[in-house]
Amino acid sequence: MKKIILSTISLALLMTFSAYGQGKLKSSKSHIKFYSHTVAEDIEANNYSSVSTIDTESGEVVFSVPMQGFEFEKSTMQKHFNQENFLDTKNHPKGKLVGRITNVDEIDFSKDGVYQANVEGKLSIKGESRSISEKGSITVKNGNIGVESKFNVTLADYGISFVKGKPSTNVAGEVEVTVIADYLAE
């Protein structure tokens, strides 16, 4: 079974790693940020509570994101984000990425270096699943393993769109997502 991980590159992370580096790695230390830019307003939200795994042999990657964990500077914006007509987080409390690093054979998790990871899989938001194909980078240093990626998400693909009102002018149709995560051997 192979799962996929995603997206383009952004930051680097490092983690400590007790075992040789094979098998399933788990991350409880991550930072997922999304950024929306429009002429009217720039919006940013941060989430530090996601959980993730990488299987260094199969290349399988999973991210589980608690949607209510996204913090916005403005309280009103955070409330709108959670509401039924936007992310409907009460009914869809988790965002998910399930994928596979297709070039996992090119990555040596036991050798220091920065490796490009090509990820294919499914991103699920608000009950909608979409195939994604993105790039990320995996940094191995002193037994630490870190992942970073940056990619875009088109909100309409997940049933999130605005025709009128403030959200239509203040929220971008495409949102930039940045992921960084540190992994430990299970």
């Binding site: 930072h31 959670n82 009460k90």
Partner: protein, 159 residues
């Protein structure tokens, strides 16, 4: 005379209307986030109890504990400290989990409450107050049980 009075009235209403409109817009714009620690606790229970509740019926638990606008229920959870760590926002995170339970309750502290965690040791029993972000469940893709997640936490007197 009448005309003047009418004009004054209309002007007065217009001014009041603008103040109210501007005031509510400003309120919306600058409204502060809910102060979790100052707010009333919705439920007091143990880590084992809430995990059990979630594993029994996830939808019912989400319905009970999560709010549509994200200002979900404020919980006071008692349990044994299983792990102490730190997240990418320099916030302390403690896991309250009992041996034998499938999952625990993970509580993230804040810049203001972080220092309370430095007095804690694994094995200690504590009560944490925070807002729930998501519940416990077995995740097939991850291959393990996810913990209940609390944020904006602080230690409170044990219940």
């Amino acid at each position: 005379m009448k005309k003047k009075k009418i004009i004054k009235l209309v002007l007065g209403v217009a001014i009041i209307g603008t103040l109210i409109g501007g005031g509510s817009a400003a309120y919306m714009f600058y409204r502060p986030h809910r102060d979790v620690q100052a707010a009333k606790t919705d439920y007091s229970l143990t880590n084992s109890e809430i995990v059990k509740e979630y594993l029994k019926d996830r939808q019912a638990a989400d319905s009970k504990y999560l709010a549509a606008d994200g200002d979900s229920k404020i919980l006071e959870v008692t349990g044994t400290v299983n792990k102490i760590s730190e997240n990418y926002n320099d916030q302390k995170v403690i896991l309250l989990k009992e041996d034998g339970d499938h999952a625990g309750v993970s509580a993230t502290f804040t810049a203001e409450t972080n220092h309370k965690v430095s007095y804690l040791e694994v094995g200690q029993m504590v009560t944490v107050k925070g807002v729930i972000r998501s519940g416990a469940a077995f995740d097939e893709d991850l291959g393990f049980y996810e913990n209940v997640i609390l944020e904006k936490s602080d230690l409170v007197a044990q219940k």
